[in-house]
Amino acid sequence: MIQKEVATLREAVADVADGATVMIGGFGTAGLPNELVGALLEQGAKDLTIINNNAGNGDTGLAALLAARRVRKIVCSFPRQVDSHHFDRLYRAGELELELVPQGNLAERIRAAGAGIGGFFTPTGYGTELAKGKETREIDGRMYVFETPLHADVAFIKAERGDRWGNLTYRMTARNFGPVMAMAAKTTIATVHEIVPLGTLDPECVVTPGIFVQRIVRIDRVATSAGGFRQQA
């Protein structure tokens, strides 16, 4: 029998190793799997490489992981935020390596990893600082930059509903990086707000097929920042 449901967040992240590359979904607070990041903080893995769109906000989640000096490198598109003070301090002190990637290249490099693509030529970033030193090619009169796939050992994503096979649906713009990160990691761990019996999710509406997911954990729906959720589900 296939049973991907795991009872606790702690159990779900127990085997994340020191030096692991961890993808963290989310854009803004939408789809941000802060509960899993919190469990990883408790678990203690260090020397991590984190792939996320941002570099932590405020003092919780990824920001707390940075503050605890557990991250060696971060790959992201937009680290600078009004409340990214932990990242700002560590980056300025030279204690955190940053690989800055245009957002669309970030998404496509993650997708490429999941799809088994060895790299791709993209027009994004051509002629800019972020393409310095990279292979370029003219294709049909347009210039492109070669970008490589981004793999991960573990992906943390937040979905809405799931079943024991790991099939997932999402909620509105909380979908963001979830489906591509789920494909790109050796172990994908998804939190959901509801686990339903197999056959309940409409097969026409499943966004991430369970083959891309290794573990799911049910969590309560809690208020995100600025009043995100008004009620418990």
């Binding site: 854009f27 803004g28 607070t29 939408a30 789809g31 598109s77 937009f78 680290p79 600078r80 990214s84 990242f87 700002d88 980056y91 300025r92 940053l98 800055l100 990637v101 245009p102 957002q103 669309g104 290249n105 970030l106 998404a107 496509e108 993650i110 997708r111 993209t122 027009p123 994004t124 970033g125 051509y126 002629g127 800019t128 600082e129 972020l130 210039m143 999402y170 909620r171 509105m172 713009t173 909380a174 979908r175 963001n176 990086f177 979830g178 489906p179 591509v180 966004v207 995100t224 920042s225 600025a226 009043g227 995100g228 959720f229």
Partner: protein, 204 residues
């Protein structure tokens, strides 16, 4: 400026409005035109901001502000969203800028200051993806330096990607024969406009 940009967006267009000044274009879209807004975090068919107390932070725009969804609106993941851009499926993209060059190079992501923390987000993808890339910015900096220049001194976001520039003084097309002034504010002599611009202008 926002109203002037909005006037040029045709019925049926799918449009991405960048963060900052371009967001204001949404408030000036002419009635009677069906214009669909895309946001790179994964939504097409964005509606106006929700009423106070009705915000849902699972439904946000690229600026991370709560929005609403219009009938027909859809959600998609990040790789699809940027495929819409990079693949040339968006009709218009409106962006802010530090500088635009005579050949349509855009600088809008980084001042290049050595102590600044770089952050690019979707700027480079947006710049090169849409069928038309409009820039909306003040004609000069606060200290009076031209923002339309011969060559950008700030780090580039994209090369030759800008179609049209809207400033508080003029509307300027980037064309093979140079920067063509489509229109300028009432009573502004061409020579004065030229004096406030860092690259040669061509009369329409």
């Amino acid at each position: 400026m926002a109203a002037r940009v909005a006037r040029d967006i045709p019925d049926g267009a799918v449009v991405n409005l960048g963060i900052g000044l371009p967001t204001m274009v949404a408030n000036h879209l002419p009635t009677g035109r069906e214009i669909v807004l895309h946001s790179e975090n994964g939504v097409i068919g964005m509606g106006p901001a929700p009423r106070e107390g009705e915000e849902d932070f699972d439904l946000i725009n690229a600026g991370k502000q709560p929005v609403t969804l219009l009938p027909g609106g859809v959600f998609f993941h990040h790789a699809d969203s940027f495929a819409m851009m990079r693949g040339g499926h968006l009709d218009v993209c409106v962006l802010g800028a530090f500088q635009v060059s005579a050949s349509g190079d855009l600088a809008n992501w980084h001042t290049g200051a050595p102590d600044a923390i770089p952050a690019v987000g979707g700027a480079m993808d947006l710049a090169i993806g849409a069928k038309k890339t409009y820039v909306m910015m003040e004609h000069t900096t606060k200290s009076g330096e031209p923002k339309v220049v011969e060559r950008c001194s700030y780090p580039l976001t994209g090369i030759g990607c800008v179609t049209r520039i809207y400033t508080d003084l003029a509307v300027i097309d980037v064309t093979p024969r140079g920067l063509v002034v489509v229109e300028s504010v009432d009573g502004l002599p061409f020579d004065t406009l030229q004096a406030r611009t860092g690259a040669p202008l061509v009369r329409a």
